[in-house]
Symmetry: none
């Protein structure tokens, strides 16, 4: 898709607003009942639906439940089966670390080592997040770099931490063996690279292990590190490169900011706690003139679905509905409302069900939809599509795509 | 699809029932009239449709009329454009022969040879099936093996027979030239292999021709053999391997049993003649606890369509409808009803029209369908999809797929 779109994209003054209601697709609690969206009272969304075309998106493929990473990449036009972001990189992105092509992100566990470096506890007694941060601070001081390669160390939670190796100019490989023996009573393994660029990474990893153990020698319990799950970072052609868009991310959770930065969006500051909807609106308003694409993320529609709390999810939809007029009054040329995956309260987790999508522009055809619900979306004139179809449709509706062929 | 699904599949206790009404899609006799499905009185299917989501499947692609092989492979999740089963293998499978990767199946014609081995009749006067079987028995006695390679010979019908060469441990190739000159007045050709593994097969084929002519020297008319259409068998990753499913086939015609065995299903014994619907239900009931996936095949919806008998096809649909409650009372977690291709009575043959599909699980969204008809299916919320989308959807509805990415 990206390869087809890129030569057609052109710069114009029109503005696109993509609102992602995280996990917005739902299910009825009883067969043939109403979903969360259909239950919510949404006068503003209803009015918007009357002027819009609706449809359904499958983010990864039929029956496949998308993680937030693949779901968002699909919405941004990057085929999630081609642009695979590994566990290590997602952990890093998930705590807000900015990654570039050529970096390697590694998931680590703190461990307890006994006599002769034998692994006694692969999770170091599950330290508190505070203890984790204390250990990370020690390691940062002890290992700022190895052989000229930048080393960044981050707390994830409990025994989990993330290391990012950056060697600007010379990409590192991520095809190497684990340090974690996945057993106790044995010593940590020595990492081996499976190709030339990964041999360098293996050297870095082994040196890290040695230096970390030296730095933690005075610790009773958290005195070793184990690694598994190495990820390099696929090269993402940027939003500007592919779409000629100056794109801004308005989100408050690290994972989403990290994903947006992977594709080259500017991540705007948002004031406020948690979902910070008012702060997000303020950020949108303050930056309206500076960008032509806005990714506006709403998290709580997913969190409440994950909690299995149908009524709370309904309320979060209604909360967004109340906010919607403030977004629309900025006058975006193209408005899109959709989700990165479904999170039905009934399942209390992400699901495979297609997400509803709504597009309003001056160039829509007639659509019978009177509400933004899964049922109306399934009858919508946009049809059932892959998630990667969305960006070309938004670009087209913004009159930002040239004709293909003469 | 298979490559994406395989790492996500997980084993659970839920059970999937896939009913294939062979050739179930139809056409109205007059434009805007009712199809066979719409004409049939189907109270049980109607009730099921009320609780289900409907859609349409295109088994191979737009406008493409699927044979039964590609149609079924698509329903089972194997892209029929990638997993190509050649004519020889389909002939073998069609008469119920179990094939494995590395085997070669060959279509043969009995011929009449005159003086100097000149072909006089490429079909040996179209012998009866009984005569064919008598000749096959002679050949089986004369050629049980060649050079340690197993040789199996089967009657197809009239002048047609099938030979399967099996060389366990050393796969045979199927890239060789024909023995059949496709003309009379000339001698049979000598087969030549086009690659190393097929040279071995060519030797086997040529030896078979010589020994067959010797064994049939006392026959007046059926005294020669001609070969064309060699097929090796693609490796099918099994249902267990791909989906973690213990799958059972409940069918009574050899072709369908053969296709199911190609993908590693257990083929259950079914008592009774022809379509043997009661025997099939009995087999389903008897084996309900032993499997988590059941492929349940109904043949006569196709046969009556092939006969161009609209009313008879309607009756066969009604016959299945009467049976449906016995299937549902077993309590499958996911029920699917669909077809392997359309066979409209109006065309009296397979057609390219999408087949209707119905899925019922606890995790369906609202769908306006009140009947299982082509017309309602075309408005269904599952949309129009490739046949290979079906298995992921059934797996998802059975909660047998893990999330893709974090």
């Amino acid at each position: 898709m990206i390869d087809t779109i890129k030569p057609l994209a052109k710069k114009t003054d029109s503005k696109i607003l993509m609102v992602v209601l995280d996990g917005v697709g739902g299910l009825p609690l009883d067969l043939n009942g109403d979903t969360e969206l259909a239950t919510a009272r949404t006068p503003n969304l209803d009015a918007l639906a009357l002027e819009s075309q609706l449809g359904q998106l499958e983010l990864v493929g039929a029956g496949i439940t998308p993680g937030s990473g693949p779901g968002h990449l699909s919405l941004f036009g990057y085929d999630p089966l081609r642009f695979v972001v590994g566990r290590g990189a997602l952990s890093a992105v998930g705590i807000g670390v900015k990654l570039s092509a050529g970096d390697v992100a590694v998931r680590g566990n703190f461990a307890t080592l006994g006599e002769g470096r034998v692994v006694q506890d692969r999770r170091a007694g599950r330290p508190s997040d505070e203890k984790n941060a204390e250990i990370v601070a020690k390691l940062r001081a002890a290992i700022p770099e190895i052989d000229g390669v930048q080393v960044e160390i981050y707390t994830e939670s409990e025994h989990r931490f993330v290391v990012v190796f950056r060697n600007p100019g010379t990409p590192l490989g991520a095809n190497l063996s684990d340090v974690d023996p996945q057993a106790t009573g044995v010593t940590p393994l020595v990492a081996h690279g499976h190709d030339a660029v990964s041999e360098k990474t293996a050297e870095l990893v082994n040196a890290f292990v040695t230096r970390a153990e030296a730095a933690l020698a005075d610790e009773a319990q958290v005195n070793g590190v184990l690694f598994r799950g190495y990820s390099d970072v696929p090269h993402f052609p940027s939003f500007e490169d592919v779409y000629q868009l100056q794109a801004a991310c308005i989100a408050s959770y690290p994972m989403y900011k990290g994903l947006a930065s992977l594709v080259g969006m500017d991540v705007l500051d948002v004031e406020g706690e948690e979902d910070a909807l008012d702060g997000k609106v303020a950020a949108l308003r303050a930056n309206w003139d500076k960008y032509d694409f806005f990714y506006f993320h709403v998290k709580k529609t997913d969190s409440t679905g994950e909690d299995g709390n149908f009524d709370a999810k309904v309320k979060k939809v209604e909360l967004f509905d109340a906010l919607l007029p403030q977004l629309l009054e900025l006058g975006p040329d193209v408005v899109c409302i959709t989700g990165d995956h479904s999170t039905p309260s009934k399942l209390a987790t992400h699901s495979w069900h297609p997400v509803p999508v709504l597009i309003r522009s001056a160039y829509g055809r007639k659509d019978a939809a009177t509400r933004f619900t899964e049922e109306e979306a399934a009858r919508g004139t946009l049809g059932l599509r892959r998630g990667t179809d969305l960006m070309p449709l938004l670009m087209a509706n913004a009159l930002k795509l040239q004709k293909y062929g003469a």
